[in-house]
Amino acid sequence: MMSTAKPISIVENFEIYAPKLVDKEEFFCSGHRACQGCGEALAIRLMCKALGKDTVIANATGCMEVIATPYPATAWTLPWIHVAFPCAAAVGAGVEAGLKVLRRKGVNPDRYIKTVTIGGDGGTVDIGLQALSGAMERGHDMLYVCFDNEAYMNTGIQRSSATPFGASTTTAPAGKASIGNKTWKKNVPEIMVAHNIPYVATASPSYPIDFMNKVKKARAIQGPAYIHCLSVCPTGWRAKSEECIKLGRLAVETGVFPLYEVENGVYRLTVETPDPLRPVTDYIKAQGRFRHLTPDEIRTIQRRVNLEYRKLMNKVEHSLSWTE
């Protein structure tokens, strides 16, 4: 007799299935000094699980370096190197070259080790952009992951070129004569696409399986890959720490930060967005950094989000693979 019960959906029963999909081994261990509700620390933990043991991490100066490695303690069980703020991609390039040549010469075991470079938005989209561009253009076999919390949080919430329009930061404060940050977020994933690298994606720890799948895909690519991960910072965003995951989801559902990947030039949304998108107010209202915005100003942001989303959907609907 045929069962009439509906098949169990993985999405609806996520809690049952998720633990089976995630590796139990920890490479970024507890005991580090990240703030409560840090989206970035969570994202790094997930990233490491997706990468696995045969990985070397190069880390730019920033929150993650400070909270994870106060000598003599370290949260890392993966081999890890930190040199300075602007040069993580160059350090990663050196690591990649070193591992390649030492394997070739028989000094290291004949086994593939992935080089992964990580940095915050400041270390990636501002001071580290040159080193990143150089490393991607040269085609190093390296995954670069930007953990974007939309300001210099480590030094105290100063604006970066990844800070969204209208956010109040300590160097772009809202005031009688200021809306806060006056510029629109720099689109670095698009700059990476322009480097003609085989894989670019956006991600969020609020969608852990999507993020980890992207990391696995990027890891498997022999060549440069880039993932831009929106990492909610409750401290800097003036939000409740328990709302970290919810804010990440709202960023996606409002179209502020859609999750997509670009594989050999083909754009694809990896997480469905509601149609129509949720209003940006839902995202903005939960964050103290936008508290001062007037309805008119929020409408300006809504128009920009709509425009950017349309631009992206044009590419999703019309892009063709450059490898075919």
């Binding site: 081999p79 890890w80 300075a84 350090v91 690591v95 990649e96």
Partner: protein, 386 residues
């Protein structure tokens, strides 16, 4: 067997680097060191050297890539000059703090401004306090020898520090000189494969470049200073070994005809060769003068310095650099502090000369010797045009 060849010194330096079998070379073009990485890229392209050559987009990335490569246990090399050295400045102290034995050739050149691409020592002097070992070559042969020695010194288990080999821009880098290029097998015998104390690999994971808070920073700094002080023993040992194997002698301060000399000149780099001629000529005229050539700048050879000036009445220290608004030249300041506590010490005169590529001739040295004892104040600029 070594072979004697006539070759531009920058190219010979690159050949010396290749003999050391570096694993990773990361470099960015800047005059006047450029011929070194250019020639190395030729050597790699010809298949004579198995190395990863990374054409980085800046010197900051050059040193950073060397740091990453050296972190994996690879032998890493770069070369630069002047503004390029300043551009990688941030990373220099980190590399020494992480005890990564990167080797760097510096084709010494003035620092802007005004912009000037020619030789003096103002570039290297900016990094004297960053924990790098520092050697100065007086000619092409020394540049070749010191490059090979540098890898051995830097990678010694008791040292594990980065090192730079200084060769005067143009005056040395672009000069064709007859020199001995050591035999590959001989270099292999002298310089075994690097054995890092830790390397980035998942089989033995390490955290490199951790945060040093106030509770350990003083201790970390003391340990770094001690590592540099202690490195002198290894440098002297490696130089002895070199002399035994290759027959050429190296010492921290090389004395030339200082016996019985009342007035002694001190130089670093290529000026030493010209100064020797001036000493010869004055000696022939019966003037008792001598010369000290400093080859080891960091760690500074305090004991050798004290010995070298015993019985000398006047010491003229030449500096191809001015510590603007400070005590004159950085070398003289160092020499003064080395000799300050000595009961008997020479009068020290400091001449700033050869700045931004201004030629220093035999006559200039003779003129400086003749003016010894006539008060120059703390320091003076030589040959300033009216």
């Amino acid at each position: 067997m070594s072979k004697r060849i006539g070759m531009e010194i920058a190219l010979a330096t690159a050949e010396a680097v290749a003999l050391c079998r570096p694993d990773v070379i990361a470099a960015y073009p800047i005059t006047p060191n450029t011929h070194i990485p250019e020639h190395l890229s030729d050597i790699v392209a010809e298949g004579r050297l198995d190395a990863e050559f990374i054409c980085v987009e800046s010197e900051h990335s050059a040193m950073s890539a060397c740091a990453g490569a050296s972190g994996t246990g690879a032998r890493a090399f770069t070369a630069t000059s002047s503004q390029g050295l300043l551009y990688m400045y941030e990373v220099l102290g980190i590399v020494s703090s992480m005890r990564l034995p990167v080797v760097m050739a510096i084709g010494n050149r003035a620092i802007s401004g005004p912009i000037n691409i020619w030789n003096d020592h103002s570039d290297i002097m900016t990094m004297r306090d960053l924990g790098w070992l520092s050697l100065f070559a007086a000619n092409g042969q020394e540049a070749v020898d010191m490059i090979i020695q540098a890898f051995k010194i830097a990678e010694d288990p008791a040292v594990q520090l980065p090192i730079n080999v200084n060769l005067d821009g143009f005056q040395l880098t672009h000069m064709v000189e007859a020199l001995f290029l050591p035999d590959e097998k001989e270099v292999d015998r002298f310089l075994p494969r690097r054995k890092p104390y830790a390397a980035l690999h998942p089989d033995h994971p390490v955290t490199m470049g951790a945060l040093g808070m106030p509770d350990i920073f003083t201790e970390a700094t003391k340990a770094r200073d001690q590592a540099l002080v202690d490195s002198k023993k290894v440098i002297l040992k490696v130089w002895k070994e070199w002399e035994k194997q290759f027959g050429r002698r190296y010492e921290p301060i090389e004395a030339y005809k200082t016996k019985g000399a009342d007035v002694v000149m001190m130089t670093m780099g290529s000026m030493g060769e010209t100064a020797e001629i001036a000493v010869d000529e004055l000696r022939r005229e019966g003037v008792p003068v001598g010369l000290l050539k400093l080859k080891l700048w960091r760690p500074f050879p305090f004991e050798e310095m004290k010995k070298a000036v015993r019985g000398v009445k006047t010491l003229i220290v030449t500096d191809r650099c001015c510590s603007l608004g400070g005590p004159g030249g950085p070398l003289a300041a160092e020499v003064r502090s080395a000799l300050y506590a000595e009961a008997e010490r020479p009068a020290i005169e400091n001449v700033l000369i050869g700045l931004g590529g201004r030629d220093v001739t035999v006559n200039d040295f003779k003129q400086m010797f003749r003016q010894a004892g006539k008060s120059r104040g703390i320091y003076e600029f030589y040959g300033v045009r009216g």
